[in-house]
Subunit: 333 residues, 2 copies
DNA sequence: TTGTAGGCGTTATCAA
DNA sequence: TTGATAACGCCTACAA
């Protein structure tokens, strides 16, 4: 908390001297050992913490590169950040050092606690991911100081990079109908998410459209464990099982496969399972997981491009970019 | 690149006026529409980019909180960041806002390209993860401006948070010997990593110690795909198989299980498989994966504590903290 | 409605 | 050896 000048005063030297000592240039400047020791002592006592922004301002000189922050939730979805980053790392803008990328964790539903969105004191632009409905409300209703791009959420106010969630849901319903299913179910992660809701809505509408019957609407934690427990509960109860289940997230589908294996329910013979996301693990489950491919890598690149264009004043008003999903057929469905 | 003053000059107004306009306070200040328009025009032309550090310095006022950066590699291991963060999010230091946490991606083997380690212009301290041997050499041989804690690598020069990799390797060998195995193999991710080398060394020493025979030393990409391909190649070749395989990373073991399932090799009857890390997916594979638990969450907390103590001058010389691993028995071994 | 000046913390430079 | 000072870019209270 102490500044270099406060230390200087207390140690009875000038701030320049303190700076040299604290930065290991004391010997080069031939500052006496006793002074060094005294200053270091005082700095420790006072709890000196260099001000990064002051340092940086001083050194910034010519190159003032935009800082882009990826706001990612500190929850189970943290593992999804991996694919997003892998998209960005091949981006030439990134390799040429035309922007600096940082990831800042935030707590789901508490985007409003990220002060720097108001103050603009941390980054030149942000990519918002995994926003809950409350987070979206916050974004819609507040004037922020920083350009934003919203990932996987629809909004009129900001640029966004999305997929057509309803269409995805419909596509899955159609796919199941084509495979001859009559009674199907859906398993939803219990998180607040517009993207999840749209998929669900599209699926349920599709069910009606294709004359299927929705026998089960289940929910559980967004995790392997959540999927496992949901599936186990379904197996243990005595009622009829649907012939197919649509899991709105791959980790849940993976947990469910595990429950099926454990309790002797055969996939796909007794029940078919389809997931969503096409995570890295999906091809390697048993049986391998049929799932909806979400083009995360391409969307990540689009997010960066949109944000950079906004920061560089190339874009005037919000632009919405929509990507396509597709079903990847494997063994489970 | 243009500063507020340059814009002011070009637009023929003062820098204060420009500031008001650029920050949306023009109306409050009753600046004429024509001036506003002109200034915005010029700002766009000149490509104005606010200097984050200047803004921040101006606003910092009383609270100068340490910024901690997690330097994480932009490769397959990005998915492991999830458990690390989950450790930190429960930390009271974090919840009380006693530090700011950022994640900065870096390319494996190119830690030396992270300039801010020399300049100290981005963060007050860093946690280095996934360092390759070249990265470690770089750290050992350079004087950096920022306090560091090294995760999962041993070093005398910096504080570190590790496990005893040799002991882990030995433990696995002992475990396999106890289960009656005679001929075993090891599968190594082809990345440069001291941690991997230590595990391998400990395992091979253990093999000798417990009178086992090491029939296969294989390697592959650090990923599910790498494990799958390695296992498939092993199955396809006609020679004898070992009765147990130690995979030095869970994703590889998961890929290998998939290959076994696909080609009709029964686990654990025909071959036993043990992994390393205890990733979230390990309990949900088929069969569930026996693996070595790496206490990532606890280690993450230790990293932050050590780093904060260093930043706050509580620690004088490097401290090395060692955590314990343990074998989690499931079905695969 | 616009301009001016001071200050945030650090560091390079120049002077003593 | 050490001290004083200017400058980095932005913001804002105050003056005009």
């Amino acid at each position: 908390m102490a500044t270099i000048r406060e230390i200087a005063e207390k140690a009875g030297v000038s701030s320049g001297t303190v700076s040299f000592i604290l930065n290991g240039k004391a010997d080069k400047m031939r500052i006496s050992a006793s002074t060094q020791k005294r200053v270091l002592e005082v700095a420790r006592e006072m709890g000196y913490l260099p001000s990064i922004s002051a340092r940086r301002l001083r050194n910034e000189g010519e190159k003032n590169i935009p800082i882009i922050t990826l706001l990612w939730t500190l929850d189970a979805r943290a593992s999804l950040v991996s694919r997003f980053l892998q998209g960005i790392q091949n981006l030439s803008l990134y390799r040429d050092g035309l922007f600096e990328l940082l990831i800042q964790p935030y707590e789901n539903g508490k985007l409003h606690e990220v002060d720097s969105l108001y103050t603009g004191t941390r980054f030149n632009g942000a990519i918002i991911t995994n926003a809950s409905n409350e987070d979206m409300d916050f974004l819609e209703n507040n004037k922020l100081k920083v350009p934003l791009v919203v990932y996987l959420r629809e909004t009129k106010k900001y640029s966004s990079v999305t997929v057509d969630g309803k269409l995805t849901g419909n596509m899955v319903a159609s796919y199941l109908a084509d495979k001859g299913h009559k009674e199907v179910g859906i398993v939803i992660p219990n998180i607040s998410s517009q993207a999840i809701e749209l998929r669900q809505e599209g699926f349920l509408n599709g069910i009606t459209e294709y004359n299927l019957k929705n026998t089960h609407t289940l929910s559980g934690d967004f995790s392997e464990d959540g999927g496992y427990k949901t599936m186990r509960a379904l197996i243990k109860q005595s009622g009829e099982l649907p012939t197919a289940l649509f899991f709105l997230s791959d980790p849940m589908a993976i947990g469910a496969l595990s429950a099926c294996n454990e309790f002797g329910l055969r996939v796909p013979e007794d029940i078919e399972i389809i997931g969503h996301d096409n995570n890295e693990q999906a091809p390697y489950t048993y049986p391998s997981l049929t799932t909806v491919h979400l083009p995360v890598e391409e969307m990540a690149i689009a997010c960066v491009h949109q944000l950079m264009d906004t920061i560089n004043h190339q874009i005037e008003s919000p632009v919405s970019l929509q990507f396509k999903t597709e079903i990847i057929e494997r063994r489970s469905c």
